[in-house]
């Protein structure tokens, strides 16, 4: 009798799993093919174009806190020109920026302000956590430094270094551009705006 019960339970489990799988696939198919084919092709291609435009004109908001800010300024200067990658103007106001490069150590007093500035940025927005202190607290494991800025804002690219050279930060920006291009036209990019 016990064996038959077990067999029935196992069968029920299998059937439920199948049902769930089928539901997922049906939902995905529904989404894919809702509307006409013309519509989906156009939105995906259009999404790619939008992504290309976004990645080539990332405007950073100045959030230079400490030593990393000096290297961020060095990245923006003539030797490692960030302007040739689209980060031409460092906007002072977060309302006009779409990239926040958190460069420097974030203290407990500064964390609410970091959150406030991030909230003031309009969607879609990306965050690069520059340097060791912003990524994980760096060499300061103590009462006053937030151990990683991803406890406060969601981070897209982490750039390690103390301070990371401008070439490293530039590589981080390029990686972010690749990430934007990869996500463009898909659900993830839509979630950023919605």
């Amino acid at each position: 009798m016990g064996l038959i019960d077990q067999a029935v339970d196992a069968l029920e489990n299998e059937v439920n799993n199948l049902k769930l799988n089928v539901q997922d696939t049906v939902k995905a198919m529904d989404y894919e093919y809702s509307g006409s084919l013309y519509d989906t092709v156009l939105t995906t291609k259009l999404g790619k174009v939008v992504g290309w435009a976004q990645k080539n004109a990332l405007w950073p908001a100045t959030f230079g806190l400490a030593c990393c800010a000096i290297e961020m300024m060095a990245m923006a200067n003539s030797r490692w020109d960030a302007a040739r990658f689209g980060a031409e103007v460092f906007r002072a106001s977060p309302r006009q920026a779409d990239l926040m490069i958190v460069s420097g150590r974030v203290s407990q007093k500064m964390a609410p302000i970091l959150k406030q500035i991030f909230d003031q940025m309009p969607e879609p927005k990306w965050v690069i956590s520059m340097g060791a202190c912003a990524s994980c607290g760096g060499i300061f494991n103590n009462y006053s430094i937030v151990q990683g800025v991803d406890r406060v804002v969601p981070v897209d690219v982490y750039v390690p270094g103390c301070p990371p050279g401008p070439e490293a930060l530039l590589y981080g920006v390029i990686k972010l551009q690749e990430k934007i291009m990869m996500e463009a036209g898909t659900d993830k990019a839509r979630k950023r705006v919605a």
């Binding site: 994980c136 494991n141 103590n142 006053s144 981070v155």
Partner: protein
Amino acid sequence: MTSEEIVEKVKEDLADLIQNTDLPQGDAVIFVAPDSLESVAKFLKNDADLKFDYLSDVRGVDYLLEEREPRFEAVYQLYSIDNQHSIRLRVGIEEDNPSVPTVSNLWKGALYPEQELFDMFGINVEGHPTMERLIMPKDWEGFPLRKDYPLTTETVAFSHNRDFKSELVKSKPPTR
């Protein structure tokens, strides 16, 4: 004036206000009780030979680990621009209800460092216009630079504590 001359002059003129003097590595140091700090400081600033018109630094020390009485100490580093000599004033402060009079009416540059003394050690500075937290957030509890205040509240995941590294990573609060 050399450090020995400074110490001699101070010992002559302020004999009963000073607790002790010292000459470590060529620096002039005098130990003062908190009650006599104001008169000693005024004398040091206004005396014609000494003329310590520049306050280089105000720092606090916590001697909890050395188990010394008094527990706290406020150290004032003074410098004379015209005579180019310096002196160190060490004021021993008791553990319960620590307080020290302010020197900000003599040297206005002492305002921020004394606020920092309060913020970091809990040493109350009497006569200071704004006795509130300077560096830490206004609602912070505890005095960070005291020796019994913990340095950090979390352990970092390294490769040598790899056994519980996965738990450490899990215990990181979710983003946003």
